[in-house]
């Protein structure tokens, strides 16, 4: 098992029926690094994550994960089960692997403590706030100790303060575990704060229109640095251009994609 190997994606493409959604996506993500993916709504970000997770088949190209790489996926809308308590939701991945009751409950409790949810084990998801629910979803993804964490707009539904808090918490977790993660977001500041690499998708079909490395990634004080702000401006401009290109009159949509 070589977990220092990078994640390699080459020439990835995907169509739904006649509409080609993604084309020729290629990049390499070093082990333990993070990638933020940003792009206009409907451009194929969720589809890309789903392909990396192995839930959707790619039409073209390859995804090369390091050998024995375990991935975990946090869906756009948390995906907790309302009929299970917080503890049972958290412990479910371990239960599915056949891990015994005592061991998985201890792991769940430890994870709850780590995420600052210690007292909520017996609650049901409806009894939690949006931020708490999202933390449980993160905990459920982390509990099987993944090497690659995939997150689809994990903080989109949260208020600004909770969102910032969870962003910091995610960075803390990352510093302790050093898993790779890929994060889809709509928010430029979030993309820059959480990504060591930032990829902007745009066009129709979507491809990578910008790929930058973030030199001050992981530095909590970077939120106020000049590099941070200039990076935000760069990503923002690329995103605006992509959004313009995404209009229905765009000649790129020659494949009949009124999708």
């Amino acid at each position: 098992m070589d977990l220092t190997a990078p994640l390699r994606i080459s020439g990835l493409g995907k169509s739904f029926g006649k509409a080609c959604v993604l084309r020729d996506i290629s990049f390499e993500l070093p082990a333990g690094a993070s990638l933020s993916i940003i792009g206009p709504s409907g451009c194929g970000k969720s589809t890309l994550l789903s392909m990396v997770a192995g839930l959707t088949k790619a039409d073209e190209g390859h995804i090369l994960l390091p050998e024995n790489c375990r991935s975990a996926f946090i869906l756009q809308d948390y995906g907790l089960f309302p009929w299970k308590t917080v503890r049972d939701n958290l412990a479910l991945p371990l239960q599915l692997q056949g891990i015994g009751r005592k061991e998985r409950f201890e792991a769940a409790q430890a994870m709850l403590e780590e995420l600052g949810l210690g007292g909520l084990a017996q609650r049901y998801p409806v009894q939690l706030s949006g931020g708490q629910r999202q933390r449980v979803a993160i905990g459920r993804a982390l509990i099987s100790r993944p090497d690659l964490l995939l997150m689809d707009e994990p903080f989109a539904a949260l208020d600004a303060i909770t969102r910032e808090h969870l962003q910091n918490q995610l960075l803390d977790v990352w510093k302790r575990r050093r898993m790779s993660f890929m994060l889809v977001t709509h928010n430029v500041a979030e993309a820059v704060f959480l990504g060591r690499y930032i990829m902007v998708l745009g066009g129709r079909p979507a491809r990578s229109v910008l790929w930058v490395e973030n030199p001050c990634f992981g530095d909590a004080s970077s939120r106020n640095s000049d590099v941070y702000f200039s990076l935000i401006r760069q990503v923002h401009e690329a995103l605006e251009a992509a959004q313009k290109n995404n209009g229905p009159d765009d000649t790129d949509s020659a494949e009949g994609g009124l999708a």
Partner: protein, 253 residues
């Protein structure tokens, strides 16, 4: 506190019903409607002997066995049909063509096929109850939010684990409610099945006493059957509450 509150309301309702009954008894006379206190006295008296208990046992056994049988067949089948839509497309026309049919009209057929004993009655009640559970469970699974299936796929469980962790708990609340609602029909079918060609059960007592013009015994049977219906309903209700705690939290909001 809340338990006392509920109990209080039940007691008030019970006394109000007794009062109405008493007024009816005065109006109609003891040959049509005996007075409630006379019936209660006769009922307590009958409970001291063994006869009434025997009939209660027969009826309770039939309805309980039938409802359990209905549940263990219809609930899994409903989940299966709801999930395997391709198979459901062939089965559901059959279900829907026969669903509106009042199963009680099959009583003579069942008596011929399965004899005059418990089996025919149990099967008939189970058929009536099972249909409702089947239809509701199947629809519950069909309308299950696709996000739960997708979420489970990200965790990578087996089909058996999907059934256990997603399909069964998702379908359970609606199915339990349908079981509860069906319990009323179940007791009604029990009565019909017992009023005919049998010597045991509360339905038999009621019809037998009616034939002999023994109003007091008839009302003892009616009272017992009502209580049996109430017990069946409450059992379903409590089971539902225990198994679907999360659902109640959801609707509270």
């Amino acid at each position: 506190m809340r338990v006392l509150d509920i109990l209080f309301r039940y007691v008030v309702a019970f006394l109000a019903l007794l009062a109405l009954w008493q007024i009816g008894a005065w109006a109609l006379g003891p040959y049509i409607l005996p007075a409630p206190l006379d019936v209660l006295a006769a009922w307590v008296d009958a409970l001291r002997g063994n006869d009434l208990w025997g009939h209660i046992r027969s009826s309770a056994f039939r309805v309980a066995t039938a409802m359990i049988l209905a549940w263990v067949t219809a609930f899994p089948l409903g989940i299966f049909l709801g999930y395997k839509r391709r198979i459901d497309r062939f089965i559901s026309p059959m279900v829907f063509l026969t669903y509106p049919l009042p199963k009680i009209v099959l009583l003579p057929v069942f008596l011929t096929l399965f004899g005059l004993g418990d089996l025919s009655k149990i099967l008939l009640i189970a058929l009536t109850t099972g249909y409702q559970i089947l239809v509701v469970t199947r629809d519950g699974i069909r309308h299950l939010d696709g996000r739960y299936l997708e979420s489970f796929r990200t965790l990578g469980g087996s089909p058996a684990q999907l059934i256990r962790h997603v399909l069964v708990p998702a379908a359970l609340p609606d199915a339990m409610t349908s079981l509860k609602v069906a319990s009323g029909t179940a007791v009604a079918v029990l009565f019909m099945a017992e009023s005919f060609a049998t010597q045991s059960g509360l339905g038999f007592i009621i019809m037998d006493a009616w034939g002999r013009g023994d109003q007091l015994e008839m009302f003892c049977g009616i009272l017992s059957m009502s209580l049996l219906g109430l017990m069946v309903y409450e059992t379903c209700h409590i089971t539902e509450k225990l198994l679907c705690r999360w659902k109640k939290l959801e609707t509270k909001r």
